[in-house]
């Protein structure tokens, strides 16, 4: 690496919390605004309800959570009603003339649709593995296409295409009028919002299926750093960052993953006070999960965290983090535990093999196993680094003696650690792109058995600290 690359000014802007603050203020205004508007909205939706009673109740139903313990028949029915509703919206003669019941509706409907797909697939897998419910096995075997992966993808892609949302977002990015490319469907709020949230829905589905690079590619049209549409719907904002961060982690891009998790966690901690309680409860669990994921990422990629996050992380996962950072075989169960706690509920896109119950492997175990390969490869890096930090030159055989390992083994550890100091890091293009930068504060090269070590000195970063404290005195 020629030099430890100076982070561009832009990246610094991302790290500081200016952007979060803008979002927080906007969100606060919006929450207050909506509180005042509540009565008015109810009146208008009431008049509409009288006109198109049936379809409005169907729209409302689509956004309603299904009871967790709903019997299989109800899950089948729910699938059918989603299909007929989306069919009506997509395949009527021209765009249907409907206003969504609320600003949140489109998100809630897509969210619930995917949630039910997710839990149905998990349930089907569980029934196959337990193999003790003849009746349900029979029912599931007879209906392999209910909640099928292809139909779910089809709905999401169709909504995206109909609404011309990609074209609209592209126009917005070029500072052009999105209405010019929206078409008959996309100019209507209903289609535009459904299309938009379908993109985030796709991100989620791809991630659930283990296709992490395609998941990130899906968001090409959405700019995360700008005032994105999803920021107005807290759950959407939150979900997007969770899945993007998780996908980055699975692609071993820990710096980017930490950036994503930090952003949203800071945002949540600041909006906590004016969140409506029900909405806030629903994200508490995901909040905990993201702290666990940050712990994993920080173990791979030690870095300074935002103060708020650092404190919360030490409170929640202090012991585990210490073990992760120490590395070695003792850290492996902790990595596994946190991963299981915090990963999405992975699913398989095809029905399980009901005839060989024990042959069905939980997709989570599959993805965890693969991830653990990388954990194992890197588990000696903390030890190696802690020693290298102490010297400017060191004999490899001598160090091997300290560590009580064969010189050949140490040579491999050194190579592994050296290779991991370079990481792809997002700059300002699509989420998948990035620049290869040096992310470690320690660098070294081997001359035969002699290790030359150099440390990158990090000057104190004062601007962020200064701005943050200044902001605090204002409040």
């Amino acid at each position: 690496m020629s030099a430890y690359q100076n982070p561009p000014a832009r990246a610094l802007g991302d790290d500081s919390d200016v952007e979060e603050e803008v979002l927080v203020n906007e969100y606060r205004e919006q929450v207050q605004y909506e509180d005042g508007m509540g009565d008015l909205e109810q009146v208008s939706s009431l008049t509409m309800a009288q006109q198109t009673d049936d379809i409005q109740s169907r729209l409302a139903a689509a956004a309603q959570p299904l009871d967790f313990q709903a019997p299989l028949e109800v899950k089948f029915q729910s699938y059918d009603s989603y299909c007929s509703l989306f069919h009506f919206i997509l395949n009527s003669d021209g765009p249907v003339d409907l206003e969504p019941p609320s600003y949140y509706w489109a998100w809630d409907a897509i969210d619930e649709f995917i949630y039910q797909f997710n839990s149905f697939s998990s349930y089907r897998m569980r029934i196959a593995r337990q193999n003790n419910n003849e009746e349900e096995i029979h029912l599931l075997k007879d209906n392999p296409n209910t909640w099928g992966c292809y139909s779910v993808l089809n709905v999401l892609y169709s909504l995206i295409q109909r609404s011309q949302i990609s074209e609209q977002l592209g126009a917005m990015r070029r500072n052009e009028d999105p209405a010019a490319v929206a078409g008959d469907y996309g100019s209507k709020t209903l289609y535009k919002m459904l299309g938009y949230f379908s993109i985030i829905g796709l991100l989620r589905v791809h991630c659930l299926l283990g296709d992490f690079s395609l998941a990130l590619k899906t968001l090409d049209d959405i700019e995360l750093n700008k005032k994105a549409m999803f920021a107005r719907v807290m759950a959407a904002h939150f979900t997007t960052y969770y899945y993007v961060g998780f996908s980055y982690m699975m692609m071993h891009r820990y710096a980017d993953a930490i950036r994503m998790f930090s952003h949203i966690l800071v945002y949540v901690s600041r909006t906590k006070n004016f969140q409506k309680s029900a909405q806030y409860d629903s994200i508490t669990k995901k909040n905990e999960q993201m702290y666990a994921l940050i712990a994993i990422c920080v173990a791979f990629h030690p870095t300074r965290l935002d103060d708020t996050i650092h404190t919360a992380l030490r409170e929640k996962y202090g012991d585990q983090l210490l073990k992760l950072q120490r590395g070695g075989p003792e850290s492996l169960p902790v990595f596994e535990e946190l991963f299981r706690q915090a990963c999405p509920k992975f699913i398989s896109p095809v029905p399980p093999d009901f005839d060989n119950p024990e042959s069905n492997i939980d997709p989570m175990d599959h993805h965890l196993n693969i991830f653990m390969d990388e954990v194992k490869t890197n588990m000696w890096s903390p030890t190696v680094k802690s020693y290298l930090r102490l010297y400017t030159t060191m004999d490899l055989k001598k160090l091997a003696g300290f560590l009580d390992v064969k010189p050949e083994e140490l040579r491999s550890w050194l190579l592994v650690n050296k290779q991991r100091t370079k990481q792809l890091r997002w700059s300002d293009r699509s989420l998948l792109d990035g620049d290869l930068v040096n992310v470690s504060d320690i660098d070294y090269a081997m001359q035969g058995d002699l290790i030359h070590i150099s440390e990158a000195k990090v000057g104190r970063k004062l601007v962020d600290w200064y701005l943050r404290n200044l902001a605090r005195t204002y409040n």
């Binding site: 982070p7 939980d362 993805h367 990388e374 990158a456």
Partner: protein, 234 residues
Amino acid sequence: MNGEDYKDRPDIINSIINGLERYNPEAVPALEEYLGQQCEERFVDCNANRTLLKLYQLNPDRIKDEVITNTLVKTITQFPGTQFTLALHLINPTAAVQGELGEAVQKLRSLNSLLEGCEYARFWATLDSDDLYADLVADISGFEDLVRQRIALLTAQACREVSLANMEAWLGLDGEAATKKFITETSRWTIDESRKVAIVPKNPENEAKKTEIREDVSVDMFSRVIKRAWEVSA
């Protein structure tokens, strides 16, 4: 990422990957043929190959075992990185551990782990230890050469000098003569006969220079504070 997108990817493959065609099972033969071409002509297009694995994931009836193993072997040549694991995530969890395909996948996984863990000598020993390995890499033209070149490249990024004995073990070549030939002709390093070491040319990676990172401060960063100061005084 290494080997993610091939620069001369044919238009037909491009249109499959970037459109809805990527979900059409009818696209499988074109992608399989493209993979065959990659195996013969020593280039790799991991993005296109993942599209193929994705179609297999959604349409298990289309699966051809040897195509799956060939994609995996192709990604192995792209170490270090995530190409192998990204492909592995798309393979059906059960198929990845059971039956003949499962055995093959697990074998390739251990090969990949050895390369990721920079245990190059053990990689070559493992590759030689079982005929199944030879079968698995048989379709990939120049597999050993491609791996060897990457090992040399990665070594050059971490080392200034390496003993010849060490290089022989890492490159998995038969004897000192072959090792020297590879080092001087393929990698273009020099050899110091008296000390029996290979000398790697200087490059930004193997210098390990001292650096200092300083904060860049620009006026823009203070724009909000300055703005606010005006608001208060007004």
